[in-house]
Each structure stands twice: as C-alpha cells, then as structure tokens.
Amino acid sequence: MWLLNFLPNFVIHLIFIAGVLGTIAGFVLGFIPLISRYKLPIQVISLVLLSAGLWFEGGLANEARYAAEHERLKAEIAIKEAKAKELNTQLSRVSAERDAAITTRGQTITQTIDRYIKGDPVEIVKTVNLSEEERKKLQAQIEELQKAERECKIPSLLIQQVNEAATRPPKVQP
C-alpha cells in the first residue's frame, strides 16, 4: 500500500478516531441541537472518515504483520544461504578429492602395465608382498603378457571399431 508510505501513522490514527467520534456524534447524539442541524453532513463525512480510517488501519496492521514475516523469512533465507555455501564448499572439496583419486588410479594402472611389459618378471615379483604360490602365478602372468606384447599384432579392424566406440555420438537435434 504505497499511500501508507506517505502518510505518517498518527494521521491514520487521527482519521480513524475522527471517523469514530463523528459517527457517534452523527448517529447517537443527534438530539443535541447543534449536531442535529448538521446531522447529515456529519454522518456522511464521518462515515467516509471511518471507512478510510479502517482501511488504513487494516493496511497498517497488514504491513506490520508482513514486515515481521519478511524479517523472519529474510533470517531463514540467510541461514539457508550460509548452509548452501557450506555445502558447496564441502561438495567441491569432496568432488576434487574423488577426481584426484580417479586420475591417480588411472596413472597407477598405466604405470603398472608399463612395469609388467618392460620389467624383468623375476625382479617384479620380488617387490610385491605375496605368498610364494601367488608370486609364481604372477610371474607366469607377466611372462604371458610380455610374450603377447612381442608376438600379437593389433588388427586394424579392431582399432577402427575401438575408435568408433570412443567417438562422441552425434547430437540429436530437438
């Protein structure tokens, strides 16, 4: 209610009080000679004042209620925003940690492949913490891998298909 911004509160209270007093005078105290002479104008003006006063008083009460609600919501939103910021920071950190772990894992696997391909199987199995039986098994696996690496040719058709699978599929237009 923009009008409430221009009128001071006491003016609104005065309008309301004037309306109440005028209405009492116009409708109840009509027997007094001075009032009875102007009865109709007093009744009309006082009813207009009473209506306007009531309207503004209602507006004031509403404004106060909504101002309080506004403040409550503002405080609630501030808490939620702070919490959202905290959650963002936390998630950002967790996501970065996960990303670093994934990258490291990929690098470790690539390095392990390199080590198995280029290293001496006997020396490699000495460095791992395994039982004798498991070491023999790993050594055999590394030797098998190195043999495959030396002897296996990669068919070009296979490469084509692998590359096809790794190509980003075309976007479907909506």
Binding site: M1, Q43, V44, L47, V48, L50, S51, L54, W55, F56, G58, G59, N62, E63, Y66, E69, H70, L73, I77, K80, E81, K83, A84, L87, N88, T89, L91, S92, S95, R98, D99, I102, T103, R105, G106, I109, T110, I113, D114, I117, A148, E149, C152, K153, I154, S156, I159, V162, N163, A166, T167, R168
Partner: protein, 95 residues
C-alpha cells in the same frame, strides 16, 4: 444512504486483500561445478583414439585405461551435480 454505506464497506474490505509479495532466494546453478574461467558448466572430455599405426597391445590397453579414467572423471562430475541438486533441494525445502 444505504448505497453509500455499501460502497464504503466494499472499499474498506478491499484493504484486507492488500498483501505485499514475498519472494525466496534460490541457489545459483550449478554451484561449485561451474568453470571459473568460462563461468559455464564444463563438458566431459572426448575419449582418446587409438593411432592407426599402433604396433603394441599395451599401447592400445593404455589408451583404453585412459578412456576409462576419463569416463569415471565425467561420471564423478555428473554424480556431483545430482548430489549438489539433492543437497540444495533438501536445504531449501527444510523448515
């Protein structure tokens, strides 16, 4: 007089319907995942292709491993967006 009273009563009651509008804040999408330089959502990287002249099996498998890593990094990003949405929704919906 009665007509005046009705008009005045209607005018008076209309004051009750005057309500200021309240709006609530919403989180800015996409939270912590926006690229700081471009201010846009980062896209998933393209997967690596195996060179046509590759002559060892291990090279092929290393590229496959790198592609798996790329996939998991992208998956982490997408999962992060979903997680972010769930967290923010829960936060803003809570009383």
């Amino acid at each position: 007089m009665n007509k005046i009273l009705i008009i005045l009563l209607t005018f008076t009651l209309s004051g009750c319907s005057m309500m200021p509008r309240l709006t609530s804040a919403k989180p800015e999408f996409p939270g912590p995942f926006v690229d700081e330089k471009t201010q846009q959502m980062p896209k998933c990287e393209d997967l690596k292709q195996v060179p046509a002249d590759v002559n060892s099996m291990s090279e092929v498998f290393k590229i496959i491993v790198e592609n798996y890593t790329t996939y998991w990094r992208c998956s982490n990003q997408v999962d992060g967006w979903a997680e972010w949405y769930e967290q923010q929704k829960k936060n803003y919906d809570s009383k």
